[in-house]
């Protein structure tokens, strides 16, 4: 008997009981259901929610694999700076892979096990089907947190984010805020020392610091992100190509702009993500960047001022440092929490880019603002849609009046 039939039998056996949604989810996640509709005409389409989710996950896999290598690379490069002279040659090595897998995969597994656990519990309590919403969230979460985030913090944050970011609103499709970003925001506000600074982005830096303060004779590992370096009015040691390819410290999966770009193109090709949001968000970020560059060029801000470093970042460089590209491609385009109207998407995206760069420059505690900007615009998305729709209604009413007059 095949696995498919076994799952089908299990499903039948538990039909009508409390555990039914769990078995149903397992079955339909892996296979087409055995039952076929017999009466009436039905439109058959392959792009149901599960396929949509799987497409996004496929687009995320390159970022995950790169993130695994990068975790190892950053660790060894921090100990031996000469590795940075030839990033490409020292990147895809066996040591990087093993160390990266050892540190990144637990985050992925914990994120999925805990998140899906919460989903199954809620589905059982409420007696509805298990929803697929967590599939993408579970993959996004490990990619947007620092590599050394303690596992128990991740567990608490995932439980918090899934319950209060999604389940209280009614589950997948009903949430106002992006659950992955809710989890990130919870971690950021609850445990700020693990989410920012120059120690958390490189594996082992925190532990090594503790050993040094305990008296060990070791070199400290410092892994300041590029944004962090700029925030201290210093020039980063990484070249633009390093930033574009992603050989830089940062959250696990957000560093490689080129892979995010490829993933974004894949999402656009499969029509899963909205090109309007992506394009307008990029425009928004460039606009804000240009404004800041203009302020610097006009000499309105003195060198040595707190914001000078970040303000003088070339406007296009904002796109390839930090999590902006990742946020725009994978999270701003979330169809549930974003704007629904085509016109609304332009405003929604534009302000995400605009506000991201603004927070980046003006937030002294934490030189990154993408997740805050997206959460803020998530809240405003329904308002934007409301005004777009009202505007359309008014326009049509006017047209009727002119015709009938």
């Amino acid at each position: 008997m095949s696995l498919k039939n076994k799952l089908h039998d299990l499903k039948m056996k538990y039909k009508g009981t409390k555990m039914a949604p769990a078995f149903n989810a397992l079955h339909t996640f892996l296979y087409m259901p055995n039952d076929v509709t017999h009466s009436g005409t039905h439109v058959k389409a392959a792009d149901d929610l599960k396929r949509t989710m799987n497409t996004v996950i496929l687009a995320l896999v390159p970022c995950l694999i790169f993130g695994i290598f990068n975790a190892g690379y950053q660790h060894y490069a921090a100990i031996d700076q000469t590795l940075r002279l030839d990033p490409l040659g020292n990147f895809f090595t066996w040591e990087n892979l093993t160390l990266g897998a050892w540190t990144v995969l637990p985050l992925v597994i914990v994120s999925y096990v805990v998140g899906l656990g919460v989903e199954f519990v809620f589905a059982t309590i409420k007696g509805h089907e298990v929803e697929e919403g967590y599939l993408v969230t579970g993959m996004l979460v490990p990619l947007i947190i620092p590599i050394d985030t303690p596992i128990w913090m991740l567990v608490i944050a995932v439980i918090f984010g899934v319950i209060l970011g999604k389940e209280v609103f009614g589950g997948t499709g009903m949430n106002i805020l992006n659950p992955a970003l809710t989890i990130r925001a919870f971690l950021f506000f609850a445990y700020p020392t693990w989410m920012s600074g120059d120690k958390v982005w490189v594996h082992g830096a925190v532990e090594r610091d503790a050993l040094i303060s305990a008296g060990s004779n070791l070199d400290a590992i410092s892994g300041e992100t590029i944004l962090g370096t700029y925030a201290q009015n210093q020039e980063p040691i990484y070249s633009v190509m390093d930033m574009f390819y992603g050989f830089i410290p940062g959250s696990v999966g957000e560093t490689s702009t080129i892979l995010i770009l490829l993933g974004g193109l894949f999402l656009l090709y499969t029509k899963v993500a909205s090109w309007r949001i992506m394009l307008s968000a990029i425009l928004g970020a460039l606009t804000m960047g240009l404004l800041f560059n203009g302020v610097v060029d006009a000499g309105w801000i003195k060198e040595g001022s707190n914001f000078f470093g970040l303000m003088s970042v070339p406007f296009w460089e904002h796109l390839i440092i930090g999590g902006l590209a990742f946020g725009i491609v994978y999270m701003a385009t979330d169809p549930v929490t974003g704007s629904q109207t085509n016109k609304g998407k332009w405003y929604y995206g534009f302000f995400i880019g605009f506000i991201s760069v603004m927070i980046r420059v003006f937030n002294p505690a934490y030189p990154e603002g993408v997740f805050l900007a997206i959460l803020l615009m998530n809240v405003f998305a329904p308002t934007i849609d409301h005004y777009v729709i009202q505007g359309n209604i008014k326009k049509r009413m006017k047209r009727i009046k002119i015709k009938t007059a």
Partner: protein, 215 residues
């Protein structure tokens, strides 16, 4: 409980759960968000409101027949303001550190919606004894929520209860901190107080489905 009749008992017990001023009527939220980061401050705040509401209710009830209804809000405000000043002065005299910590929030008891709400809704229409019981009941209902929220926020946010380190010392790494536990800084911020109150409301309504409004 022969001391109180069944009706009187309801006056005290109802606001504790099924007619709670915070979780059901959603009044007095601001102070519940602002000062609950520590259990001690929550308790002092609860006691202050208990005093102001119980005494205020009695005073308003006693003079309810001679207050001209056109200026009754002003009269009520004067009564609350007088009582709040008494509380403020007592705190400054006997618990100076705490009063500094609570700062303007003691003064802001005047604007606490629960107090004006009970004056308007109850004390103006009932006798002093009943008003007294109503004041005690509502203040206790307020206190219960404040203390629950303060308990969780202080325990998870600072790892202490009433200033005593119950989870170990975070600096010398004893107790829970020895195995890597850390305080949740989010708990100290007001948004988390709102979320905690939201969770309390959620739990309460899922236990008693009569409380869920139909729409």
């Amino acid at each position: 409980m022969a001391l109180l009749s069944k009706k009187d008992r309801a006056l005290i017990l109802d606001p504790l759960a099924d007619n709670n001023p915070i979780t059901i009527q959603v009044l007095g939220i601001c102070s519940a968000l602002a000062i609950t980061a520590q259990l001690k401050a929550s308790i002092v705040m609860a006691l202050s409101v208990l005093f102001v509401l119980a005494v205020g209710n009695v005073v308003i009830s006693l003079i309810r027949n001679i207050i001209p209804s056109k200026i009754r809000i002003i009269v009520q405000l004067i009564v609350v303001a007088a009582l709040v000043i008494i509380v403020d002065q007592v705190l400054k005299a006997y618990a100076y550190e705490l009063s500094k910590q609570l700062s303007v929030f003691i003064g802001l008891i005047i604007t606490n919606c629960i107090i004006m709400g009970r004056f308007e809704a109850f004390a103006l229409a009932n006798g002093p004894w009943k008003s007294f019981l109503d004041g005690i009941g509502n203040a206790l209902g307020y206190s219960v929520i404040l203390i629950i929220v303060g308990f969780f926020r202080e325990l998870l946010g600072s790892g202490t209860l009433l200033g005593i380190q119950v989870l170990g010392d975070p600096i010398t790494k004893t107790g829970l901190y020895a195995i890597g536990y850390e305080n949740n800084g989010f708990m100290l911020l007001s948004p988390m107080a709102l979320i905690v109150i939201g969770i309390i409301i959620w739990v309460q309504r899922s236990r008693n489905s009569k409380l869920i409004e139909e729409n």
